[in-house]
């Protein structure tokens, strides 16, 4: 063939898609420097006894030992587990049920949707405040019910250490389920109309169709929703601070608050880092394999 022309030489692999790579620099920097770097930094310093400022005085696993001996950490973990599990389950269930109801070709759909979604636009400070108030036994729901004549009625979740986490859950659901509902609704709208028809011809009752056919078909939506809810759950902090500050006592403490308090109030960075490392580790154990299946592994796009 003819002599070498420009196109015949395999260009440097690094220069291919150069623009795309340049455009991705912010992302790569963020991912590597901030998130990965920050994580590694955090892990490294979790083995030190850094106080107010990060210092490289390595103390081995001391911080971790202390962490797992701290009753507050244990309570935090338990709370996160309960809160996480329940809010995952409830947001998904409630969100789905609402979406299913909204999908019944109802009137005023826009109005209902707006009502359910507006809390999402409010900040946690606000949510916490309002619900703290509604759940306050002196002013809130309890006092109203009592004033209606049911004297023994008792509903003060925020002041009862045994159920305080459920009180927080109420507010969390109030704020979050609207978004879940919207995601689910979008998912439902994406389901092939013919499936419904087939199920009706087969005489499958509505609820069975949802449970046995539709839900399994919504895997994609459910996963996206899970990521969004779960990332919110792991990070839950503001809501607890705004509603109870972790009280009564330490009954509603959560890991993110432990991290924050020990880093900044106790000025024991090492302890805070150890706690965050434990959180990250848990998240990584759950997420990485999933992310790999979902995005890696040479799967086709989409």
């Amino acid at each position: 063939m003819t002599g070498l022309t420009r196109g015949s030489v395999r260009p440097n692999q690094w220069l291919r898609n150069l623009n795309a790579k340049i455009a991705s620099i912010p992302m790569i920097l963020t991912a590597v420097v901030i998130f990965l770097g920050g994580t590694v930094w955090t892990v490294v310093y979790s083995f030190t006894n850094s106080k107010l400022l990060p210092r490289l005085n390595f103390v081995g696993l001391d911080q971790y030992e202390r962490l797992w001996e701290a009753p507050r950490w244990i309570v935090s973990i338990q709370n996160l587990a309960i809160f996480g599990f329940l809010s995952l389950v409830f947001s998904l269930v409630i969100g789905f049920v609402l979406a299913a109801l909204m999908d019944q070709k109802i009137r005023f759909e826009n109005t209902f949707r707006t009502i359910m979604l507006y809390p999402f636009a409010l900040s946690f400070i606000v949510t916490g405040l309002v619900w703290q108030w509604l759940l306050n036994p002196q002013y809130g729901i309890q006092s109203i019910v009592r004033s209606l004549g049911w004297e023994s009625f008792s509903f003060d979740p925020l002041y009862d250490a045994d159920i305080v986490i459920y009180g927080i859950l109420i507010a969390a659901l109030w704020q979050g389920t609207g978004l879940v509902m919207c995601l689910m609704l979008a998912g439902l709208r994406g389901i092939d109309e013919d499936i419904w028809k087939a199920a009706r011809v087969d005489g499958i009752p509505m609820w069975k169709t949802y449970v046995l056919i539709i839900i399994p078909m919504m895997r994609g939506v459910i996963i996206t929703t899970l990521v969004i809810i779960a990332s919110g759950i792991v990070k839950v902090y503001d809501l607890v601070v705004a509603q109870t500050s972790g009280g009564p006592g330490i009954a509603s403490e959560v890991p993110a608050k432990y991290v924050y308090d020990y880093m900044f109030l106790a000025q024991n960075l090492g302890q805070g880092f150890a706690a965050s490392t434990m959180m990250l580790l848990t998240v990584a154990i759950i997420i990485v394999p999933w992310a790999y299946l979902e995005f890696g592994g040479g799967r086709k796009r989409g």
């Binding site: 013919d194 087939a198 009706r200 011809v201 087969d202 005489g203 078909m217």
Partner: protein, 361 residues
């Protein structure tokens, strides 16, 4: 005569849009009826009304002389097969087949029997344990048919079941559906916009346009004696060639004059005599035109524009009377573009339509 499915004065509107308007149709026991029409003409809507998946605006539907207008789909004794298969994706093929029966609390032994029979008939026994995602398109559609089959119903409804398949599979499954109908002998209503399917499968075809049935007849009648211009153009591939002209009468013979060329249509079996001066459309099917062969009628000359060899036959695109027309010749005779051919036209199998009413004359 009692019909298997009767539709009486059926109307259906989506809000202000009326899709079906006072439609009537009777379908006999064991008949294979094809609803044929272009996209959006209301075929699926009609089928969904019969199935009970859409609430009618007006009219009645009878299945086996039972008024089912307000019945639930499952109680109508119908089975339905969809274009997109609509298989339950997370269930195995077996589960897909048996699910409806289980919900209806049919005894397990009976379920097994019916599933086995359907799997036998459709030859999907080896697939029973698979998921729909592990099946090819044709296999999926077979399962979808199986799902209707196990319901042991008398009326099968098909909504473009083969549209998502490639040509080869389509022709294979077409034969299978035909075979199925011959062995089951139940009523089938089949929606399609593919005329080959309609012609090969149907006992009778209902050609629809904008919610109105244009012609309801057996395939040969539809093909050979289309009731109007729409049906004529819609059926047949390549399409019927149309020549717009005027009737002339000369020396006891009738002609249709088109752009200087006079076609002798004396042999045409007109229902009402052609009036000289009447504006008409002359329709000729590509395969009814003989090329370079002695034929019954007159001979015309035309030039080849393009040829499309299709293996078994060859499609020629010609210019005649200033109009492009196609001619199908059997075998592998080749005519390079530019060559001149002699056409003989048989007016006995032509169609003539009134240019205004567009109805057959």
């Amino acid at each position: 005569m009692r019909a298997s499915v009767s539709v009486r004065g059926l109307s259906l509107s989506f809000g202000a849009v009326t899709v079906l308007d006072k439609l009537n149709i009777d379908i006999d026991h064991g008949e294979f009826l094809v609803l044929l029409g272009s996209s959006g003409c209301g075929k699926s809507t009609l089928l969904n009304c019969i199935a009970g998946l859409l609430d009618v605006t007006d009219g009645q539907i009878f299945i086996h002389d039972r008024n089912v207008t307000w019945e639930e789909p499952k109680d109508r004794g119908i089975g339905m097969v969809f274009q997109s298969y609509a298989l339950y994706p997370q269930m195995s093929v077996e589960k897909n087949l048996s699910f409806g029966l289980q919900v209806a609390r049919v005894p397990q032994a009976e379920i097994d029997k019916r599933v086995a029979r359907a799997a036998e008939i459709l030859q999907i026994r080896p697939l029973l344990k698979r998921r729909p995602s592990e099946l090819s398109g044709g296999q999926r559609q077979r399962v979808a048919i199986g799902r209707a089959l196990v319901r042991d119903v008398d009326v099968f409804l098909f909504d473009e079941p083969l549209s998502n398949l490639d040509a080869k599979l389509r022709s294979e499954l077409r034969v299978e559906i035909k075979r199925l109908h011959q062995s089951l002998k139940n009523t089938m209503i089949y929606v399609t916009h593919d005329q080959i399917e309609a012609l090969t499968l149907a006992d009778r075809i209902a050609v629809m346009k904008s919610g109105v049935i244009q012609q309801l007849a057996d395939p040969m009648t539809i093909y050979n004696a289309p009731e109007n211009l729409f049906v004529a153009g819609f059926i047949g591939s390549p399409s019927m060639n149309f020549f717009r002209g005027e009737v002339e009468a000369r020396e006891g013979r009738s002609f249709v004059r088109v752009d200087g060329v006079a076609f002798d249509v004396t042999a045409y079996p007109a229902r009402t005599p052609l009036q000289p001066g009447q504006k008409v459309v002359l329709g000729l099917r590509p395969e009814h035109i003989k090329v370079d062969e002695a034929g019954a009628g007159e001979v015309y000359e035309a030039t080849v524009d393009i040829e499309e060899p299709m293996g078994a036959d060859n499609l020629l695109w010609l210019t005649l009377a200033g109009q492009s027309m196609s001619v199908r010749i059997a075998g592998q005779r080749r005519y390079p573009p530019g060559s001149t051919v002699r056409l003989s036209l048989d007016m006995g199998v032509a169609s003539i339509f009134d240019a205004v009413s567009e109805n057959r004359l």
